[in-house]
Amino acid sequence: MLHTLSIGELAALLEARTTSSVELTRHFLARIERLNPSLNAIITPTAEAALLAAAAADRRLAAGERGPLLGIPIIHKDIFCTDGVRTSCASRMLDNFIAPYDATVVARLKSAGAVMVGKANMDEFAMGSSNENSYYGPVRNPWDTTKVPGGSSGGSAAAAAARLAPCATGTDTGGSIRQPAALTGVTGIKPTYGRVSRYGIVAFASSLDQAGVFARSAADAAAVLEVMAGFDPLDSTSVDVPVPNYSAELAAPASAGGPLKGLKIGILREFFDGLEPRNAALIHAALEVYTALGATTVEVSLPHLPLSVPAYYVVASAECSSNLSRFDGVRFGYRCEQPRDLLDLYKRSRGEGFGAEVKRRIMTGTYVLSAGYFDAYYLKAQKVRRLISQDFRAAFSTVDLVAGPTTPTPAFSLGAKLEDPVTMYLNDIYTIGANLAGLPGMSVPCGFIDGLPLGLQLIGPHFAEGKLLNAAHRYQEVTGWHRQTPRGYE
């Protein structure tokens, strides 16, 4: 079955003309039609445009053109602007918004021949850790539909896990790729801040937002990231560092003495404080695999990490309070009925257009930037951010990568944490540090607890995506966790 194959295998079939992009696209569109209703992973399927794009890819293939993503279906998180297709950010505010442009990520994947089959559900404006904050309703975890898939890129993660497409894009501001990847048993990578252009991504927290990939394996993720990444003059924070050929690096023959010989992995001590023993045992088992592959492990400490959650919620909320001011009912998006005057237009358009979590963060952000509070909150949080960066820098002076769990627990039940935002926020405790320091991070499936998947998190120094992908790939060569498919989606 086509949906069980890797991107590399699908590309080979397309190149051999054994299958066509149209056939492949039809296959995944049919899966979306059949399987999505119980998952709610897709907000907007794009069947018509997808078949046109697939036909175009087939013509390019027929003309002899080759490419790792040429003709391969993909799902975009509904935070990426897509020319002519609704970009809702899972918000009532943008329910009617059709962007007249493609995000750079979308444009690059489009020109590489990837075929968008749909736009994925998410937490509204990427704010959430359970994908329950969506105007279009919650996404369900394909491993157990009473559980959440994680967030904010929960739709992309669930879609990848349920094989609704071979890969999906996501964004990660405070763990929004890695956490749902872990909870749905797929491979997810958040690149270095500045590695992938933010142009055309509806901004949540500009200094933290970074686009990345969900895929079935590190090798597949590498193929997609290679196309997405790279300098973009339209994003002043994108960094002009050449993009390595990740796939070629993964394909390189392993050195004698183990494929990861010489790799030093730091085990993050703070990530195991109070961690549930079964969860800790899985992570340690994964690290033993790494030792067997030739890597050495040593314990490292990030002493300021416990401060990451409060620092994050100050910085991210501050930036979002300003970023979301443009949604005022004046030029695009939701506008209330019959506004009495300007103030009424603002108040009701925003009051009716935004969901509760978005409002909570706008209010928090407005508060921490206010006169008299700025120093105590925003400035203090920036200081914490610098300390956390220094912690990581110190760790990377002795090790190549650091490792630990992606999440404290497997997927939790829908509704379990909705009433308690702080408990919900604490779910991101292990992922937020990489965002605050702008570092690349990955989540790799590493086992199951009570039938629910769990992820091993790897974090590297700036622009060490290649190293991360290689470490994940070598692990996946000798383990099978990433090949597990939820029942009903085989």
């Binding site: 943008l94 001011s325 005022d328």
Partner: protein
């Protein structure tokens, strides 16, 4: 009644003359149809990001160097957050804690001839907002975002000015400078150059500043002067009436010549400034500064000093002739033309040229409302006229007549002089003959003069000039007439 001292600081907004906006590629031309020059970035569409226009930065640095300021090696763009329909993002990108330019100064020449140095606290880059339009729309407001994102340099002075006149002199100086630097077109009607005035009063001798009011959006020198006058009088009235000046923002109504309260400090927005995470801090290195410095023209003060030093002009004349780059260029072009005929300009020639440029030429330009670059009389034609004054072919009085003809025709000064027979009579014999005839025709006046009525000397001068059509060389005439009248003949 107390003796009051006025304290004024100005915040000048100069629109930078870049072709495109400060953070988007949209054009900045004035007067285009509404919203035809607003890109998706200017409209603040979701996912749009700002990219700094390097030319705007270069212009800000140029200004900084021209006022001897510190150019920050690292400056930061910040967001100023507030809701308004003409502010599409809900925040304005400006600079707050780390502006690109700080601690500069400018020296202004006051009417009494003294010079005063005004401190410039900072100059920072920011984007302009759009415009709300309320006219001609029933029960609705229009928004034109063409101006949104236009680059502005906000130039903030120290509270160093002590009168409306000083404030205007400073504003004019900045106006001159930005046009010299070619970083702003200075067009005040179109809003390219405008200011907010912070005004307070305090009893003379008191060190502590009084409470200030900020008068917004003054877009002419006259309005600045009138608004400050009104505001000073208002504040003194309030205090002397036992009241207190409140810190507030006021608007000047030029029709009624008064300022009105817009909002008080309590109603003021909390702008929640914070560094814009979409823009990296701007790094400016020594090479960039050197590069910009190399493009600096001769500045007004330098030019004025050179005019005084090399041409012997008075400080006043040198100041006037260097007040605009175009006027200075015209004056120097006249000197260059004179040099072709008369050799290296001497102080007397420079003074003559200065008088003509500042006098006849400037009034003709004013009368016809023309910029000097569009003068009907080119430097070469004016020089042709001045050469004839220097070589005494015509008198200064006749020269004015020739100038009028130059202004309204394409002929050269020589052609006009010849065609109209205006050549000055310098032949002593010819002048004597006329004098003799005039004396002979006025025996009574002669007798009166000789009996002590000295004033009649003017009468004889007038008669001789009338008889010669004004062409008699005045100096020669004076000398000969004096001799004849005193009975030399």
């Amino acid at each position: 009644m107390a003796d009051w001292e006025v304290v004024i600081g100005l915040e000048i907004h100069a629109q930078l003359a870049t072709r495109s906006k400060i953070f988007s590629g949209a054009a900045t031309a004035y007067g285009a149809p509404p919203n035809s020059q607003a890109s998706l970035v200017d409209l603040a569409y979701p996912g749009m990001l700002p990219v700094l226009n390097a030319e705007a930065l270069r212009m800000a640095v140029k200004f900084g160097l021209a006022i001897g300021a510190t150019v920050a090696p690292r400056s930061v763009f910040a967001r100023k957050n507030y809701f308004y329909p003409d502010l599409p993002k809900g925040y304005q990108i400006s600079q707050y804690e780390l502006p690109v330019v700080s601690r500069g100064k400018l020296t202004v020449l006051l009417d009494d001839g003294t010079a005063k140095t005004i401190g410039i606290t900072r100059a920072h880059l920011e984007e302009d907002a759009g415009k709300s339009l309320h006219e001609g729309l029933a029960n609705a407001s229009g928004i034109d975002l063409n101006r949104a994102g236009t680059p502005l340099l906000e130039i903030v002075s120290e509270p160093d000015m002590r009168s409306a006149k000083e404030a205007v002199a400073y504003m004019k100086k900045v106006h001159t400078l930005v046009r010299y630097l070619e970083i702003c077109d200075g067009n005040m009607q179109e809003g390219s150059f405008r200011c907010d005035a912070n005004v307070s009063v305090r009893p003379r001798g008191q060190e502590k500043f009084g409470t200030r009011a900020e008068i917004k959006n003054l877009n002419s020198f006259r309005f600045v002067e009138k608004a400050i006058h009104y505001e000073v009088a208002r504040q003194i009235d309030v205090i002397e009436g036992g009241g207190k000046v409140v810190q507030e923002t006021r608007l000047y109504d030029s029709d009624k010549d008064e300022t009105r309260s817009m909002r008080s400090k309590e109603e003021a927005n909390d702008y929640r400034y914070f560094p814009d995470p979409d823009l990296l801090p701007v790094a400016i290195d020594a090479a960039f500064i050197a590069d910009v410095r190399a493009t600096l023209p001769e500045l007004p003060d330098e030019k004025a000093a050179r005019f005084e030093r090399e041409l012997g002009l008075s400080a006043y004349d040198a100041g006037v002739l260097s007040a605009s780059r175009e006027l200075g260029a015209y004056f120097e072009a006249v000197l260059a033309e004179l040099e072709k005929t008369l050799g290296k300009p001497v102080s007397a020639h420079a003074k003559l040229a200065a008088n003509w440029v500042m006098g006849e030429l400037s009034s003709a330009l004013n009368r016809d409302n023309l910029e000097i670059t569009r003068s009907h009389v080119t430097p070469a034609r004016l020089s042709g006229l001045l050469v004839r004054v220097v070589d005494a072919t015509i008198s200064g009085k006749i020269a004015k007549e020739v100038f009028e003809a130059l202004w309204s025709s394409a002929d050269s000064a020589d052609e006009i002089i010849d065609a109209r027979g205006l050549r000055q009579i310098t032949d002593g014999g010819a002048i004597e003959a006329v004098i003799d005839a005039v004396i002979a025709a006025n025996p009574k006046q002669l007798a009166d003069y000789r009996s002590g009525k000295d004033k009649l000397f003017g009468f004889f001068v007038g008669q001789v000039m009338k008889a010669t059509g004004g062409k008699a060389n005045p100096a020669q005439l004076n000398e000969l007439l004096k001799a004849k009248l005193s009975g030399g003949a």
